[in-house]
């Protein structure tokens, strides 16, 4: 088991995700774990990381204790370098100016497809979810990191509805459909770091967090997940990393 006495699952997600971001990257981030991870990366190892918000903000400063509640309100523009229309900030993805799209997700499948539209049949859904927002655009046009909790009901063989495309039906089907760039790079969970098999594009375990067994991952995954030949173990979150997260989210809105 991961050490839940030192940190919450959300904190683990934020720390592990932040380590995947490189200095100088331009990152399209939603609020919550993605924004916390990007902000943590800026503080720890990537001071020149630039955040984009879907509402139309380029390079805002996030003030400790003042995390914005969504990506589309004035709090997202605090001391930004530029504000622009939603259409134009999303077009940065298409033009190729975004290095990483950083997404959460309700449901993911073996090919990294994400669902945030319908639980059940789209024509007669059990639950109508809020929908894609810019998720489909991000997933269609840039390299994606997904951060989500590792639960069997979330990691399903095939999502009920492909809102944000991963590797579509696997193999070359993503590129064949017209999406010739981008795609899921890593999936960060509270158990492991996952990637995708080069040829089949099926999800595979790259690394386990300290104290997590392969068995645990299998038990919490709703499909037959692949394992890399070399499975690494991630470094546990440092005190510094956790301190920064708690400085930015003192009320533990997102890291509880």
């Amino acid at each position: 088991m991961t050490d839940t006495t030192r940190h919450s699952k959300s904190e683990l997600l934020a720390v592990m995700s932040s380590r995947l971001l490189k200095d100088g990257d331009t990152v399209f981030a939603g609020v919550g774990i993605p924004l916390l991870a990007a902000t943590l990366a800026q503080r720890m190892h990537a001071p020149g990381l630039t955040i984009l918000f879907e509402g139309g903000t380029l390079g805002p400063f996030v003030v400790p204790g003042e995390l914005p509640p969504s990506t589309n309100e004035q709090r997202c523009t605090r001391r930004a370098n530029m504000v622009l229309s939603n259409t134009d900030v999303l077009l940065l993805l298409q033009r190729g100016y975004v290095d990483i799209g950083f997404m959460g997700g309700a449901q993911i499948d073996q090919y990294g497809n994400l669902n945030s539209s319908f639980i059940g049949d789209a024509d007669d859904p059990k639950i109508r979810l809020p929908g894609t927002g810019g998720g489909n655009d991000i997933a269609s046009l840039t390299k994606v990191i997904v951060a989500m909790l590792h639960e069997k009901r979330r990691f399903v063989e095939n999502v009920d509805f492909v809102t944000s495309t991963g590797f579509w039906h696997g193999g070359s089907s993503r590129a064949d459909s017209g999406l010739t760039t981008g795609g899921p790079a890593e999936v960060v969970t509270d158990l492991a770091i996952l990637g995708f098999d080069e040829a089949s594009k099926r999800m595979k375990v790259l690394a386990l967090h300290a104290g997590v067994s392969a068995e645990q991952v299998r038990e919490n995954t709703g499909f037959d997940i692949l394992f890399n030949t070399d499975i690494e173990t991630t470094e546990t979150p440092t005190d510094d990393e956790l301190a920064v997260l708690r400085e930015f989210d003192p009320d533990r809105v997102y890291i509880a």
Binding site: G56, N72, R75, L90, S117, S140, S164, R174
Partner: protein, 330 residues
């Protein structure tokens, strides 16, 4: 249940150039005073119109016009917006619209999935037509530019794309061979846009996040501006860089301070959080009854928009205002 009328509407979603030009030519686009009341502006909207809303989620929502349209008993509106929040609930709940085209629909991330949206869509009482956020923006942009579609590289290879594939086309680029999706132009019948300031002719200046408003105004066949403040044409001419919507596109100007409440207007007020929490509680218990109660109490009962603001409460108005102005104090 959803009417067949709406389905027919969709098949003719893209106007021919001849029709677009004819409609535009028929408008009175002259320099004139367009100031009127909310009620007069509401009368410009016709049942069945495609009504596009400016702003996004909780920002610069043209709430006062939504409120006026519901009070005027409008029906069968097709509503489009980049991202839809509580105003979408009110459209569904009032019956003013049973068809919303948007990319994301719920009150806001912190309040979870909208129970009202779920109630109306899951029970097939209304449609939520989902497109990607950028595809909607490109539809408005094509409409603004006077072209019938915009080529793009998004929304292919997804169920979002497949679910609306009767309204799009794919093509192989004749220059590069790349596969492209063609998103149809959106030319709304009416655009509702709230701005910080405009003159009586409709030259509008917007501070902060611009969202898709400039494109929507240019794309629409009629534009209704609500504004925190009417300023003189001389004030506009002192800062022509800041004008985002030119008067030639505008048909009505309504001065409505706090016209987005309980949503926000950049630099003027932040969302009225107490009211939004109360709304989430009310509709969370029983979606249909909750939204009906809200509509009765906040939309139909007050005699005027100011009386509506009084119901939101002076404390909340002042609190939202102080937080709104905070962008000037960082």
């Amino acid at each position: 249940m959803i009417s067949t009328q709406e389905l027919e509407y969709d098949r003719a979603v893209t106007k021919s150039y001849t029709e677009l030009r004819r409609e535009t030519e028929a408008r009175d686009r002259s320099l004139r005073d367009k100031v009127m009341s909310l009620e007069e502006a509401a009368a410009l909207v016709i049942d069945g119109d495609h009504v596009a809303l400016g702003g996004c989620t909780l920002s610069r929502t043209p709430m006062a016009m939504v409120w006026a349209l519901i009070r005027a008993g409008k029906k069968d509106l097709k509503v489009s917006r980049s991202i839809t929040s509580t105003e979408g609930d009110l459209f569904y709940g009032s019956g003013a619209s049973q068809h919303i085209l948007t990319s994301w629909f719920s009150q806001g991330i912190v309040w979870g999935v909208s129970k009202v949206m779920r109630h109306y869509t899951e029970n097939k009482l209304a449609r939520f037509e989902e497109w990607s956020h950028m595809a909607i923006g490109l539809g408005y942009r094509a409409g603004a530019m006077g072209i019938p579609f915009m080529p793009t590289r998004t929304m292919m290879g997804s169920d979002v794309g497949e679910r609306v594939d009767d309204k799009t086309h794919e093509m192989n680029c004749p220059f590069t061979g790349d596969k492209l999706l063609l998103v149809p132009a959106l030319n709304p019948d009416v655009a509702l846009i709230h701005v910080q300031r405009c003159d009586p002719h409709g030259n509008a200046q917007i501070d902060g996040l611009p969202f898709m408003d400039a494109d929507i105004a240019m794309a629409a066949n009629k534009v209704i501006l609500t504004t925190e403040c009417i300023v003189s044409n001389d004030q506009i001419r002192r800062a022509p860089d800041q004008t985002k919507i030119p008067f030639i596109t505008v048909d009505a100007v309504v001065e409505v301070p706090y016209g987005c409440a309980p949503h926000e207007c950049y630099g003027v007020y932040e969302p009225f959080l107490t009211n939004l929490d109360a709304y989430a509680d009310l509709t969370g218990k029983d979606a249909a009854a909750g939204v009906a109660e809200y509509l009765e109490r906040y939309v139909h009962a007050p005699a005027s928009w100011n009386e509506y603001l009084a119901l939101l409460g002076m404390d909340n108005v002042i609190d939202a205002t102080i937080r709104g102005r905070s962008v000037h104090n960082d």
